[in-house]
Subunit: 405 residues, 2 copies
Amino acid sequence: MALIVQKFGGTSVGDAERIGAVADHVARTREAGNEVVVVVSAMGKFTDDLIRLADDVSPTRPPRELDMLLTAGERISMALVSMALGARGVESASFTGSQAGIITDTDHTRAKILEMRPDRIREALDDGLVPVVAGFQGVSTEKDITTLGRGGSDVTAVALAAALHADVCEIYTDVTGVFSADPRVVAKARRLAKVSFDEMMEMAATGGRVLMLRSVEFARRHAVPLHVRSSFTWEPGTWIVEEDPTMEEAVVTAITDDKSEAKVTVGGVPDKPGVAAKLFRELADQGINVDMIVQNTGANGLTDISFTVAKTDLAAAGDACNHVKDVIGALEVTTDDNIGRVSIIGAGMKSNPGVTALMFETLSANGINIEMISTSSIRISCVLRAEKVGDAVRALHTAFGLDAA
Amino acid sequence: MALIVQKFGGTSVGDAERIGAVADHVARTREAGNEVVVVVSAMGKFTDDLIRLADDVSPTRPPRELDMLLTAGERISMALVSMALGARGVESASFTGSQAGIITDTDHTRAKILEMRPDRIREALDDGLVPVVAGFQGVSTEKDITTLGRGGSDVTAVALAAALHADVCEIYTDVTGVFSADPRVVAKARRLAKVSFDEMMEMAATGGRVLMLRSVEFARRHAVPLHVRSSFTWEPGTWIVEEDPTMEEAVVTAITDDKSEAKVTVGGVPDKPGVAAKLFRELADQGINVDMIVQNTGANGLTDISFTVAKTDLAAAGDACNHVKDVIGALEVTTDDNIGRVSIIGAGMKSNPGVTALMFETLSANGINIEMISTSSIRISCVLRAEKVGDAVRALHTAFGLDAA
């Protein structure tokens, strides 16, 4: 008998019919002899409706009240899922984040979990019930209702799986798993049966849309196997697990792409200590998250520093750079929001020195210019013109032997 | 400076515009130098929408899960009201029933308040905030979310007013107060400036639709003055207060009518001890609430027992009576769902012996037959044919001098 945490996202509980399908699946999982804990998001676009209401009553969204408002969403879906289980003869009870013992800090709208005290969930399991837990929400150390921010329901599911020592955390969604590339970009993309935590983290960080970096990190830290699968077809999906040292690793597992960022270049900076520190302190003070950073030193003692930020932060980043431009003695600040990033990811890359060369050759053969490069031990990312991203992903997918037969 | 609890029902917070109007009024009340605690119901028909969803996913409505579902409604309205207050510069914070310290028994969907621990509400007031509290909900001694049943938001408001020693509990609704009769029945009905708790309880018990008996009882027990008023016109409405012994009392304050009940008659019952006990024990065991009971003994040693029940309980009541018919030796059981009840209510009735006579004369003069009579010290109720109810109310309203000039 296994203990399985099953998390269902907004589209999976989008209406009464979908909720019924979820309940059928939970009932099947129980009949197969497993214990099940269900975690649910709010129904479909319900959260958007609530935000629209909030905008109608107030020009601002006080974070504490926004959390109170939004958490109504999971309360509805979890009660409905629990009722649907009851209608199938599966005894169950729903629990809010607070009742499930999800204790967070007081950072409303993006709270972090401080502690898990899932005593009531464990009791419910011991009583033979299927606990249905609200995703995305917790209670703060000040006893206020909090939400966990984007991807928060996945975090709830992983945190519960970790605290309950579950055998697997199943993340049900509207796709059938994790793919070797975005199937909308690469027609021949394949579903991956298995991905390592490290690979999945790199994918999540570079444009993979299925899981948020945060929940993968959490799962890796607590060694919770994840299984990403579809709540529409119910077929097995993609397992995200610890790297298996006995297995031969694919050199490249997946190609990701990301067009959500823009580039800032601070040009003609004197190449001396402290310059980069001043620049990035200023950006940090303005609350701007910087992603890739590339610096090249020229022969004349001057250097260019380029970095990427979310497009929504581009104007603020440009202002911040201009603000310190004279202090650091830079010649110019330029911004560019017409870029895209393509990344190749694979745990086998570590022991295969030819990967970088093949990537650059492939891009070059397709007439694609590389503007920035950054690497980790299992990833290579290139910044390109935005309009070249699709071609680059397809060419690399073929070059690294990922195309489906 | 007064402490005022203001309760807003579903129509009062029905959309963003109504919520804005509520926030304006709360801001005005604060500007006038008062402390305010707000209690809100779910928005408009939102609760009905949730029940429809529940019916779509399950043929049954498990009470614990139904409570979890329905309490999402106030969570939404209270967060929105709090945001709207913030937009008007009024600092506020919303609180669930649980956070407001409303401790109930475990009787889901119709829980009773066991204890009030409004520490967080008092702290919020001390911090200069306007607490916005979810009506209708509490947390049970088992730490499950409960609802207080019909009229539950009023009960929340009254209980908070009592626990906080508020100066008044204002119940805002879509009518301008309590009337001398239902204005849809009597065109000349007048709004009453003041009604005693005793009168209001009799009115609530006999068809008055503005307040539920339960919240009036609670207010009387804790001596919380109620002020029923409109959230559309904001004009002063009706005060419900302790009887003022120094004031001359109106003989008759109001006429109520009720067509929601039906009559059961158990005829030809031997007039001996224990018969009524057996009959009403059977009804109680079937969970049927009996309202009026009238028994008349005839000359032949046989008696008829008639009683009224809610129309929805009529079939079950008939079955229960037939079940004990032979045991108690009754000759026949008849049911009648075409009745209505008209009641006249007035604290001054106690010292005015002519009231009963005038009521019966008035009905008789209008050709209206009386089928059952029951009285309390400040009320006389008559059961009539349903189609005669309107005429009876209008005639009595005129006869007792209640018509508006």
